[in-house]
Subunit: 152 residues, 2 copies
DNA sequence: CTTAATGCAAAGGCTTTGCAGCTAC
DNA sequence: GTAGCTGCAAAGCCTTTGCATTAAG
């Protein structure tokens, strides 16, 4: 498994460094979505040495490798979620995002077949190479809604 | 119509200034999606005087008023699209986004009923106040795909 | 008149980069 | 050994903000 990981990275011309291992490991046994800064803090609390720049660089590469997935959040730093070392351990899902605090909640849906169909129609119609899609809901979580005095 | 606009803004405690009018007008008779900087340039070419800071502030307010809609683009400045002065002249649609150049293409879909249902389920399940959603496809337009030598 | 909006320049937040020294392979 | 990686600090990019001046209602 570790061997496997190394092999995959080497195949892409990347080295499996201590830092990259640490960043990827930080996601294991965690189910949430983390910013670069949060990963940096998690690792520092473990008394490991890593720079924020390296966290950014590692997140990039691990995302490119398909081990992580980046979630872009309006007016808030990007967050990353663990996908799996085999590229698809975590099932397909979508996101519910709090515009107040940046919290991300995963949810499942059965829209895949419709979306797939739509995707291939769009690729043809607009000559696009589509690499991914998302269905996303945005709003305010209970706490943030209270703070803003929004009626739920 | 102009009167109407002024009234709406005053009701929200906003003044209808020359600059805000100019920014909103820049979207009329245009169908594309523009960054703050692009709007700034469009207005400067017309020999009008406006600062970039004011463009940002105006885009914010006009979006809050519902006249514009902001489209967040990964690793690229936000773009704005015209909705209408009555708040909904432009029909509901979704976006196909080029990760190479930031280009945005609108498309229609008939997913609304499914999405509405999903939204109210999510609001209940997670105690969220959901304010909006999007269905979005990302990838590369013909030109950018060529540059990156992606096979379409 | 009085409150809010503008312009300018400066600062802010997140992210990337240049470069000398250091590791993985 | 040597290509690629790291840490550090500096820079970059988009966006926001403080403040004196100006304009809207």
């Amino acid at each position: 498994m570790r061997k496997d990981l190394k092999m995959k990275m080497n195949l892409q011309g990347y080295k499996l460094t201590q830092q990259r291992k640490m960043v990827l490991d930080a996601f294991k046994n965690r189910t949430d979505h983390y910013t670069a800064w949060e990963i940096y803090e998690i690792l520092r609390k473990k008394r490991t040495n890593i720079s924020l720049a390296t966290v950014y660089r590692s997140l990039d590469i691990l995302t490119e490798m398909g081990f992580l997935n980046r979630v872009d959040i309006p007016e808030s730093p990007s967050r990353y979620e663990f996908v799996g070392e085999d590229g698809s351990a975590k099932g397909h899902h979508h996101h519910l995002i709090c515009l107040g605090c940046g919290k991300v909640i995963d949810f499942e849906s059965d829209l895949m077949p419709v979306i797939q169909k739509l995707q291939s129609e769009l690729e043809k119609k607009y000559n696009f190479v589509i690499t991914n899609h998302h269905i996303r809901f945005e709003g305010y979580c209970e706490d943030c809604a209270k703070k803003l005095k929004l009626k739920s």
